[in-house]
Structure formats: C-alpha cells, structure tokens
C-alpha cells in the first residue's frame, strides 16, 4: 500500500501522472518534465515534497548527540541557520544526507530523505544511548512545499513573507495568513524557499501559492523535473549517488566537513584519513559527446578497462546536452577534460569529464 501526501487530491485534480517513489504515490509530472524544468529555471515552480521526513531533536545533550551522528560541527550552528550534513555509519558510509536547522536553544529540526526515514530513526535512537535527548519524528504531521526559481522571492513577498532571509536560514513566519516555518533552501540550484506547514493547512496553502503565483508564471513541478534540476546542480540523490558503502569524501562532499571538529563522530577516523589521502573512488561529472544518454548503473571505461559506474544520468534541459554523475577509481589520470567511455546497450560511447555543478548555481543569497 503506497502512502499519499495531504496534497494527493490536488495532484490528481491537476492531471499529474503519479508514480511510486520510496513507497509514496507522488506526481512525476503534470505536463512535461522539460517544460516544468525550464519553468523553474526561468520563473518559479511549486513542489510537494511532503514525503520527506521531519525529525525534531531537543534536550540537554542535543548538540553532543548530533555531533556524534554527523561529521559537521553542530556546536557552531547558529540560531535559525541550516547546515547540510551526512548521517554516517561506523565505516564512514552514508546512511542518509540531511539538512539540520537550529530552531531554538537545544532545539533542532532534521530533514531527511523519504526513502531513509526508518533507517535514520533507527540509527538516531541507537546512537542516543547515554544522551539526554528527545528524538521526535513529526513526519506524519507536516507537509513540505518548495517554491523554487528566480521569481520565488517575489512570490513569497506577495504571499506576505515578512522576514528577509539569507540562504540556509529558517524562520517562523506567516504566509497567506498561515503559520509556517520558512527556510531559504532547495534542491534545484535556484534561489527558493521550503515551507513547513501543518497538514491541515497544506491544501489551502498549495492553492494560494498557485493562485498568487500566476503573475509570476508559476507551475506545479513533479519529481521528474526535480530530478533533472538537482542533477544539473550536481546535488546528490540518496540511493543513486549516495549509499552506505560511499563516504562523504568519495561523494565529493569534503567541502562540507570541518577539519578541526573536536568531538568524535561515527566513522571519524576513516573520513579524516580520506580527507588527507582520498577515498577508494571519487565522484565525477560527465558530458556525453554524442546523443546517447548514460543511466544509473551503466559502466564507465577508459582504455578498455572498467573504471567506474554511472550513478545518475539524464538529458539536461538547460544545456541541451546529456549529463551524468559517476564514481570512478580515485586516480589522478582521471580528471576534468579526460575522455572516457560509457557502455550503453553493449556499445561504448565517448564522454568528457566536466566540472560539477553542470550549471551556474544561483542559490546563494546574502543579505
């Protein structure tokens, strides 16, 4: 039995094509993935991402507890700020990737992937032994809407957003008269907001955003375009680009890991070793040199030798090229500009290693 978000009826009424995603029946597209994708890059789009998990962490030992489960230093996270984190196992492998928000003194919100909520909760509870901390899964009580695109800020102002926010901040606010938590984060590479709203108000807010957004050219956006948008921005998708056998260093996430964190965290010795010497594999970006499309689990070759595997691949509607993420052997010879081959239906197709992200991201907003 698949789960449904509180906005399920809205998607059906809008004519969305529904698919199963991590046990949830979700809209994959309303009209066309390419059209929806371009609308987020050019105007603004509205996403239902209520399948994602919301876990509140509070209590006297919140900081020590969170510091044990992620490589990031939560003691340095300021009030109303957010930080991109990884939940690591004892080998440094990724149980999930998360955003942690500081909501108050000793009060945090952890947003996790829908597909990983059970594993995350289990791991968090298991690791809470000896800490005075409350782990409160509120996923079933909240809907999460994302408003993303260059016109997202103007639309949010029209909806009555009062506070000015930098990227990676969260504030309680009121939009369209509804009490919400608003964060300036997203998964598209564009500026935008994510809105945490109680389930009972989510349908009203969804309609209101679409109505007020008409002047800005808003469209509802499905998971299909969400995937191509995040891929162009080279943002990882758990289950494709991240898994328990991959460390944050291998995943190209070293930038997110502080080098001077004092507290022990799960997998610290392995991750610190890899920060110095690199991991077994590394994540690269690829651009196909012909019209073929690399897909998840296709093999990557160089000089006739298998060197890696594609984790995500799709056409890029923005670039008009076919792009992919892949893990390859951690070898200095395999670097930006190197030509490799992808095995597609028993034929090798040339691809060039290119810099990530594939597009210029526009999601860093400072006040």
């Amino acid at each position: 039995m698949t789960k449904e978000t509180f906005l399920h009826d809205k998607h059906i009424a809008l004519g969305a094509k529904m698919v199963d995603f991590a046990g949830w029946e979700m809209p994959v597209q309303y009209t066309s993935i390419i059209e929806e994708h371009k609308n987020v890059r050019e105007n603004v789009g509205l996403f239902d991402v209520s399948h994602m998990g919301e876990v509140f962490v509070s209590g006297k030992d919140s900081i020590e507890f969170l510091n044990k489960i992620v490589p990031q230093d939560i003691s340095k996270l300021n009030y109303e700020k957010a930080v991109y984190c990884q939940l690591t196992n004892k080998n440094g492998g990724l149980i999930d990737d998360l955003i942690i928000y500081k909501l108050g003194i000793l009060e945090y919100l952890v947003i996790c992937n829908a597909s990983r909520i059970d594993e995350d909760l289990n791991w968090m509870v298991r690791n809470s032994k000896g800490f005075d901390v409350k782990i409160d899964n509120q996923s079933h009580n909240y809907s999460l809407l994302a408003v993303q695109g260059p016109k997202a800020d103007a639309l949010m102002r029209k909806l009555g957003l009062t506070t000015q926010q930098e990227s990676f901040t969260i504030k309680p606010d009121k939009i369209a008269g509804i009490k919400v938590l608003v964060s300036r984060t997203g998964y598209t590479g564009e500026d935008g907001y994510e809105i945490l709203v109680e389930n009972k108000n989510s349908e009203y807010l969804w309609d209101k955003i679409l109505e007020e957004g008409k002047d800005f050219g808003i469209k509802p956006i499905g998971l299909g375009a969400r995937d191509t948008l995040r891929l162009e921005a080279a943002l990882h998708l758990y289950g494709n680009d991240l898994d328990e056998n991959t460390t944050p260093v291998e995943a190209g996430l070293s930038w997110s890991i502080p080098k001077d964190k004092k507290d022990y965290y799960n997998g610290k010795e392995i991750i610190e070793g890899q920060l110095q010497h690199g991991g077994k594999k590394k994540l690269i970006g690829l651009k196909m040199l012909d019209r073929s499309i690399a897909r998840h689990e296709y093999e990557v070759y160089k000089d006739g030798q298998k060197i890696g595997i594609i984790t995500s691949g799709a056409p890029s509607p923005t670039l008009g090229e076919n792009i992919a993420l892949a893990y390859v052997n951690n070898d200095k010879e395999i670097c930006t500009g190197t030509i490799v081959q992808v095995m597609i239906r028993e034929k090798l197709h040339d691809a060039e290693i290119v810099k990530r992200p594939f597009i210029q991201k526009r999601n860093r907003v400072k006040l």
Binding site: S32, G224, I293, R295, P315, P317
Partner: protein
C-alpha cells in the same frame, strides 16, 4: 493526434499498420508516448536487419528512462524513419503519421503472428 484506421496494437504498445503492398509500418501507440513523456532519443535498426516477433529492435528514451521496443511480427526492415531519429520529440506530437519508426516486410506467418494483436478499440478498452 489522429489514430489511423486499421492498426493493430501489441500489449507492449507497438502498432502495426498494413500498407496494402505486403509492407507494414511499425511504431509506438499514442498511449505509449503519452506514458513515456518527453521523448529525447531514439535508436532504430539498420535497413535490411531482420527480427523475429518479440525481438527488441529499437530503443526509445524519455527524460527519465530508456525503454525497449519490440517487433509485433517477424520482419525485415526496409525503411527507417530518420527524421524521427533526428527529432525524436515528433513522437510526442504524432506517433503514427510523423513519428512512425520503421517499415517492414513480413518474414514469418503474418496471419498467425497477428493473432495476439488487438484492434485499436479493443486495445484502448484493455488499458482501462
């Protein structure tokens, strides 16, 4: 898009249309292209290639995924729609007139092989 008369459809969503000169046109049904969404890539066989009923003879890719296309009857490829290869998005507009895939000459017992194909109306009914 207009659905041509006298087509037969397979359960894997290919259509077969009799050209009346012992050649047949093969392509994807409107239902198939609607389900696929934006079509961005098409790989068709060489002229002269021969396939048995049920063989994979082509690949279509939407933004999300690659899908195989199967021969509705055994046949030899006598013509390939190169404009569909060049601009695969025409399949989304019209998979019958403009976006057909290949023309074939049957190489098997065409009567017997058509037995499990459905008339368009029955095919549509089956989908509901």
């Amino acid at each position: 898009m207009n659905t041509p008369d006298n087509i037969l459809c397979s359960k894997s969503h290919e259509f077969l249309s009799d050209n009346g000169d012992n050649t047949f046109t093969v392509g994807l049904t409107d239902y198939a292209v609607e389900q696929l969404g934006d079509i961005v890539f098409l790989e068709l066989p060489e002229e002269g290639a021969e396939f048995k009923k049920g063989d994979t003879f082509a690949t279509v890719e939407s933004v999300k995924a690659a899908s195989e296309i199967y021969m509705p009857v055994s046949g030899k490829i006598i013509e390939v729609n190169n404009s569909a290869v060049e601009t695969p998005e025409i399949l989304n507009e019209d998979s019958y007139e403009k976006g057909w895939l290949v023309k074939i000459e049957p190489t098997g017992n065409i009567e017997a092989e058509q037995a499990d194909l459905l008339e368009y109306e029955d095919y549509k009914e089956e989908l509901e």
